[in-house]
Symmetry: C3
């Protein structure tokens, strides 16, 4: 467990825009985060995950997944070190037999100690869990916090009934914000200029995207819905640039000749999830999460959505996903994003990068995302929260 590494007040005092966002090195509390795929936790199976620096033990019981803090209340050992479940709904600590109910976290017994004043009174922390679209979402929040509907923490369209979702997940060695900004950053398209996806999918890919002035993005902040920022890819707001020049000389061209000019619509949402629509194909949408593991790592959970009207269509999408979109888009194309984030991590790792970076016009949407996240988050993860 990484216990240091939060942003100092000295640095935060110097942040002029997006202060809460910069403070959220370990992520935003009281939000839903996808932790793993439903298929990866079978009935009776136990899995451990780390979210926002909190170590969580998950178990599927009678179909439903439950989450508790992976730390015995007695002397703090991880329950997962040697899980002992003597009844379906409980787990007993391997060390002194402290037994907790998954449903409410109650210390219901201590195996081997038949009487104690603490039995029936103390609790281990529980985490709300919900499954949707083949993902296991965990609510990482304060005890007693009124848990919001999942639909407020995912991008629009993701939960649509006819949307089939497939995906994969990887641990990335960078802060989650470095991941999120790489994804939403419209000029980072420059790193993809030689991607195998371009030819493979007949893409028209510019070298850069330049805002023409004001109005290159819009903010969505309806009270009961998810909060996000959209890029506005309209000719009058954002202009694609295919010709690269250095000191007056043309040095490099983008790929203007592809028939698919994608995407038209990129947006980023609290607590840290991107929607690229359509992508990587006119009929598909990519949704990807940058889930904080701790201050230095994030889970890059990538999914592609496809509207389907039958089990047959879904099976067809499943096959295409495995054979084409996973290797060519989620791996081939996005692998470039991964090394870019890891290369950018060092500059932000000691938190001074937020003061030293020199942003330029196309970063306007990033600034807007920092403002939105600072304003609409439900809490900032603190050192106390990860103990």
């Amino acid at each position: 467990m990484e216990k240091t590494g939060f942003v100092s007040e000295e640095i935060l005092d110097k942040i002029r825009v997006g202060k809460e966002y910069v403070a959220a090195k370990y992520g935003f509390r009281n939000h839903w985060y996808p932790a793993l795929f439903s298929k990866d936790i079978a009935e009776d199976e136990i899995k451990t995950v780390e979210l926002l620096g909190e170590k969580i033990l998950l178990k599927r019981i009678d179909g439903k997944v439950y989450g508790i803090k992976d730390q015995c209340i007695h002397k703090g050992v991880p329950l997962s070190r040697k899980p002992e479940c003597y009844t379906k709904g409980t787990i007993s600590c391997w060390y002194h037999g402290f037994t907790f109910r998954f449903e409410d976290g109650l210390l219901c017994d201590i195996v081997g100690v038949d009487k104690s004043n603490i039995i029936g009174k103390r609790h281990v922390k529980t985490y709300p869990v919900q499954e949707a679209k083949g993902l296991v979402f965990v609510f990482v929040g304060d005890e007693g916090y009124e848990v919001p509907d999942l639909s407020r923490d995912v991008p629009p369209k993701f939960l649509d009934e006819d949307m089939a979702i497939r995906g994969m997940a990887r641990e990335i060695k960078s802060n989650w914000r470095v991941g999120a900004e790489n994804g939403f950053d419209s000029t980072h398209i420059f790193i993809h200029k030689d991607s195998i996806l371009i030819e493979n999918n007949d893409l028209a890919l510019p070298l850069g995207l330049v805002p023409t002035g004001r109005g290159a993005f819009k903010v969505q902040k309806e009270e009961d819905g998810p909060k996000g920022v959209f890029d506005l890819f309209e000719p009058e707001t954002i202009r694609p640039v295919f010709q690269g020049t250095v000191e007056g000389e043309e040095v490099r061209m983008g790929t203007p000749e592809g028939k698919n000019m994608l995407p038209h619509n990129i947006s980023i949402w609290l607590p840290g999830v991107l929607r690229v629509d359509p992508w990587p194909d006119p009929k598909l949408t990519q949704f990807e999460w940058y889930v904080p593991i701790d201050g230095k790592r994030h889970l890059y959970l990538q999914t592609i959505g496809c509207r389907v009207n039958s089990a047959e269509e879904e099976a067809q999408f499943d096959k295409e996903f495995e054979e084409r979109w996973k290797p060519v888009a989620l791996e081939g194309f996005n692998d470039d994003d991964i090394w870019a984030r890891e290369a950018a991590e060092d500059f932000y790792a000691d938190d001074t990068g937020w003061l030293r970076e020199q942003l330029f016009e196309p970063d306007g949407n990033i600034i807007e995302w920092r403002k939105l996240a600072s304003k609409y988050n439900r809490g900032i993860q603190t050192p106390e929260d990860i103990k």
Copy 2:
């Protein structure tokens, strides 16, 4: 050398019981600690050990072991990096020839520099060394401290003339206090419920041991003797529990049917040594030390004692030790204790575990040990001491 990692005043201020004990992350000064086995340092041989964060060079000269600080006074290099002993009673630093006497640490010469005002005046720190029962004990203390008799720092019976001792030692990745508390903790017996020792030695082993109310332990604090805490395994004070239940259902049984109901008598002593009597057999006693190496590691030095009346009996015990007790008890049974300590280390590593733990009734003896150690120790290791 771990130079940070001492407990902060901020945390110590919040400790209500056993404050000095919590402060002693690197151990208690001015006590005797076993460093290695006598058989492992032959005549003329040099060995280095780390005790309480202090690096010490030991050498056996004419049968007697001497100890000096393994750091030249001049520019601080380890003498052991390339030991050069030009006379039996001295060691010369490989770097500039500074030569120290083992007996009193005096800088008696500088090889290659025939005159200097510091020759005959400066000293390297020396450590009193004493051998007993096949162990090399080192006194880690302040210069000028009146060295107490070894008998005041070992459990009663250990030095008895007819007590033959055999043992082994391992480095464990946990603080010494986490080791000590695991050993003395009466309900940790739960982790041993499937040990090979049970069947191998026909043991009756409960799942837990529950104090019935006041009076489950007693303190021994005679002025001239060792200071320790005893568990009182009497039916009216501590009750064995063989049946494990969860929410009213019997889920697991201990082992009530063995003919050997052991041990009757467990005690822990300053500066951090446990006596389990009898154990692992009615005729044997286990003595085990948790010697601080630094703030994160301890030397787990395990010994078994057997009363013998002849060289033949001792040879017989030696054979039994090697063939049975070492593999079945010191390894088989205690290996569970080792992983338990290492699993518990993370919670206490940043010192906040002492504030976050939630103790219960059976931990009363642990509390008593913390109080006793806080009251009767002869000093607390500080950052200055390990430089």
Copy 3:
């Protein structure tokens, strides 16, 4: 990048002599340092080096080597992670196309973004580079600092026209000051007492060198020249000792019988370069640099100089260097210095060694070096400088 590890004010306040030198854990700013050998960076080739904690990208363009900071001004990524040079005189950042001129660091274009207010206005930091004697020297200093002539930062004789230079370089795991002091320290000769160089080169090598009283060194501090300290190897100032005794007994002899009594003249110069003259042979001179990489490592750049009057003589020296002096002197002899420095590092690593060391008479020249370096350096590297 090591961003912590500078010396605390608490420690500096206790330093009585050479305070600025002790503060210069990362080296002295505004000086010339050799970074690599000219032969190791070909036309068009890019190399990265780390000097005083600063990461620098070097490129040879039309014969001349240029240096810029290896960090894009935008979001701080290393340009060297995937160098993209679309024109001879520029480098473009792989991430967003920011393009910098090597000559003056100007952001002259952003590939893929045809218009931005920052183009033509912002700069990446540049480093003056100069080649001499087959070495690439980099000036690590403040922007706007008036760059001094290289001759003020190398020992006398090094730049002499008839001086041919050959050498090698290695990264050493110790602070540069520990390296420098090992080199200039006259009694460290003790570690070389069994060197293969002694027999191989018919050397007379004492076990120690003892100053006889005042006057064992002199300081050179002419205003326009390099600043250094000389040992004065005169019979009346420094006396060689061949006989090693311990408590009155002769225990070890140096090597008095060699016909080459070397060296006569050892001196150390700002910013951290030693001259040993003659060495390792009556006709040769060794010049060696201890270049700070960061606070924990230095580049040990060793060279040997030989006066030559023709290409033929230089070719002869080149052959001798490769076949003899490199393996026997720079490796064989100096390898002992390397492990000595690494063994001494731990004591000084947390900066308390400067308070705990116990110097003696022969260290007078070291003290003088610390004073000179404190007085004549052009600046001390700070945490701000390495961001």
